[in-house]
Structures are given as C-alpha cells and as structure tokens.
C-alpha cells in the first residue's frame, strides 16, 4: 500500500432523522471529512449488531450509528433499542480487542446538518488517532458454502432503474 492510510468509516443513518440531516448538510454545502460510507436504514433500531461486526470484519476502522433523538423515533422506540444494543455491543467489542471509540452512536435530528458535519469530522479524527483497525490475520472462512435458508430474507434495493427485488441467501446479512 503506497497510498497514505485514510480512516474507513461505515455509517448507518436512520432515514427519518440522521440521513435527512446528512442530506441537509449536503444541500447546505457544508464540507466534512469524506471518510464515511453512509448506509441508509429505516431506523437505528434496524442496525443489527451483526452489521457492525461485519463492517469491522470486512475492513471498517470505525462504525457510526445515527438515529433520532430520544422521544423522536418515527417508530416510537427503535432508537432506544439501538441504544441498548449499542451499550452492550460496545462492551463486547472492547473485550474482543476493538477500541470502544471505534463505535459511536449519535442522535441527530433532520434539522441538524451542522451536527452531521461536526460528528463526521470528530469521528474521522478519532479514528485517525487510533490508526487502522488492521485485523492481523486473514479471518478463516467456512469452506462449505452455506445452504440458502428456506425463508430467505427478501429485501428491495433501489437502483437507477427502479426498485429491484433481491433475494439474500441464508446469512441474514
């Protein structure tokens, strides 16, 4: 790797608040660290801890979760679920050797474009100080291909040509 290392951050933003705020930041032409790949989810409560671990396992140096402020969740309590999972997950990843600062949960409402800018910059700075996560060993993969689940999860992915149904096999990811 000749190129200088840049922090890689995966950001899960809830569509109602934080993602809209990120849109607002964009429309308002605010500049912020370009290190995050934003993944839009319907609710911060949709962020399965598996998503976070998968991001780390696949090379993310940090994971950011953004949801509505307490009391503001579009689905009443999704952000509280996110908070509970995050609290426990943070302890788990620390024991597994990932610095707790690499995982961050933020409440950002749709009007807080400036907060997106601030949090993104802070997160990039934090990760830059920590350095790359660098999983030292290649993680062993099962040599057996997984069986597609009988109830394979169906998700819809929006492309330029419209909504395309996509069948995701057994993994749940």
């Amino acid at each position: 790797m000749s190129k200088e290392w840049e922090p890689r951050i995966v950001a899960f933003f809830c569509t109602w608040c934080t993602y809209t705020a990120a849109d607002l930041a964009g429309i308002s032409r605010m500049t912020y660290a370009p290190n995050a790949r934003i993944i839009r989810v319907m609710c911060s409560g949709r962020v399965d801890p598996q998503f976070v671990l998968k991001a780390f396992a696949d090379g993310a140096d940090g994971v950011l979760i953004g949801g509505c402020h307490p009391g503001d969740c579009h689905y009443q309590a999704g952000n509280y679920k996110a908070l509970r999972r995050y609290t426990l997950l943070k302890r788990l990843i620390t024991e597994l050797g990932i610095e707790p600062e690499r995982l961050r949960l933020e409440w950002i409402s749709a009007s807080e474009g400036d907060r997106v800018q601030k949090v993104m910059n802070e997160m990039a700075e934090t990760i830059r100080k920590l350095g790359p996560l660098r999983l030292e060993r290649p993680l062993p993969q099962p040599l057996t291909s997984p069986v597609p689940s009988p109830q394979a999860e169906r998700v819809r992915v929006r492309s330029e040509r419209g909504a395309v149904p996509l069948t995701v096999s057994g993994s749940g990811l």
């Binding site: 399965d48 801890p49 598996q50 976070v52 671990l53 998968k54 780390f56 396992a57 307490p70 309590a77 509280y80 679920k81 908070l83 509970r84 999972r85 609290t87 426990l88 997950l89 302890r91 788990l92 620390t94 024991e95 597994l96 050797g97 990932i98 610095e99 996560l133 999983l135 030292e136 060993r137 993680l139 062993p140 993969q141 099962p142 040599l143 057996t144 291909s145 997984p146 069986v147 689940s149 009988p150 109830q151 999860e153 057994g170 993994s171 749940g172 990811l173």
Partner: protein
Amino acid sequence: MSKPKVGFYWCASCGGCEEAVVDLAEDILKVVEAVDIVFWPVALDFKRSDVEALRDGELAACFVNGAIRTSEQEEMAELLRKKSQLLIAFGSCSHLGGVPGLANLWDRQAIFDYVYKEAPSVTNPEGVVPQEQTKLGSNGYALTLPSFRDSVRTLDQTVEVDYYLPGCPPPVKIIANAVTAILENKLPPKGTVLAPDKALCEECPRKPTKPDKLALKELKRPHQTLIDPEKCLLAQGLLCLGPATRSGCVVPCVSANMPCTGCLGPTSRVKDYGAKALSAIASLIDSEDEREIAALMEQIVDPVGTFYRYSLPASLLHRRIRNLSSSPAEAGEGEQSRRSLAGGAQA
C-alpha cells in the same frame, strides 16, 4: 453386500460427544447392525494407518467432534475428508468452535505462559514448555509433538463439511434422526445443520408463561435467585438464550431450571450467534435511560463468555484482535496481557 463403513474421530474436545454416541444405548446395536465402525479411537483399537489404508471415499460417513487446534488435528481432518463420502461435524466444537474456542481470547504464547509457567498450581522453575521436536541423548533420535496453533478453528474452516450435528453434546434424538437419514439416503442439501430450524422457545415447555412483551428490569444469574420451575426464565430475569438458539434439544437445561446457554447455535438466518443473542437480550431491557441501561448491562459479567460460549471461532471476528490494556477482561494480568498478539503463525 457389505455394510457401509463409518468412523468417529475427536479433535479438541472433552469426550462428551463420544459419550453422546454411547448414550444411544441399545440403539447403538441397530447402528452396528447396519454399519461397520472401522475407526473410533475412544472405543476401538484402530490406528491412523488403518484409515490410511482405506480407499478414498471408502467411509460412507465420518463423524468428527472437537475443534481444530493442532497440526495433527488438521492432518486427521484432511485424511478423514479424503476417505469419507460424508464428513459430519459432530457437536458444538466442530460446528462452531465450542468452549475450547474461547481460547481465541488469547494466543499460543499467552496460553503456554499461563498453563506451563504462571498458573498458581504450576511449579516449573526451569520454565520447561512443550517443544515440537526434542532430540534425545546421543543417538540423535527425535521425538515430535504436533504444533499448537494460535487460533482454534471450526472443522469447516479446515476442510469441507457435508453436514452439521449441533449441540454440546448433540441430543440423542438428533443423532438418531441423522443416522436414519444417512442410512435411508434421505438427506437435505449439503451444508445443512441437521436439526429443526426454529428457536428453542418454540419447543420450550415454559412457553405458555412467556409474557407477550418481555421487559427486564434486572438480569440475574441462576445462583442469585430461587427459580420458579414453571415460569419463563427470561420473565424471571434470568439470562436465557432460548430466543436466539436453534431448537432440537428437547429442552433439558430449561427443564432442569437452568437457562439456555446456546449450545445448538443459531438458526440458518443468523451469521453471528453472539451478536444476535446480544441483540435479543439487549432489546428486552426495560429502560430508556442511558445510565440505567449501562448499569443493567453491567450485570452481564462476561459478555464474550455469555454470548459466544460455543461460537467464538465461527463468529464474524473469529477471535480477539489484540489486547487493549484498558480491556476489563485483562485487568490484573499485568505486563503479559499488554503484549500485542503476534500474528502470522496461523495459516
């Protein structure tokens, strides 16, 4: 017509899985009637050379229990893979890494240092640790030991596996069903876990007492409370992993007042058992206050040991990445623990 040949082998395991085969009791006679057991180190005196003498694919099925930790276990897994038509991961350790897989919180060096030098019950002033090769005296004869890897792996991270029998140990019913399916050649697609694909709560005798909405204000461990033998354990505040665990065990633990610890692993929709179990339990906590949530979570003393008790090697991260000096699990282990886990030894 000669009977189909089968084998049993053990790797990094406790022997409980062998016990489970013996637990078939009189039914083992039916098995022996139908098949020839040609390799079973725990019970029969066949050697590795006997397996080597078999033709490739001569074993109709081989059941391998235990995780893969040493070079010898890797060689045996490869040899048995070659000789078997069906290679079946038998039990939690070969399926997901099992309890021995929790050793992935440390590496070879840390384990050797503790086990051979630092453990309070050890006296080893000369600091003797096992060597892979030891030259004896003047005749130059060398004794060898298998090499001990940095990480524990599952069987399917070592060789291709056809089917999985989950559980610690696999429940007799599941073994019997699998043996029948093999003998009658009624097997599902390759890679299937041969157990029901739904959560344990579905077959739990306490299910009727499970409230529609579980809300936990406290997380207790079994020794901290008098357990009601009828009522849902989660509703009593006990950390039962039934909601995240595959069923098929006929619920012996919960029936004996012990919460499920998750030995059958996840259902087919879940990739990382620990993360999903953590998610399930965390969602049930009845609090919306950040500090109170943190305090409640503190009642889970050992998150990795609780949620990854049987599945750390099969998890997304596979092992502890490095030692953080601030890590609570490491507190008090001194200088030793701060050494970063040196990589590279594991293939």
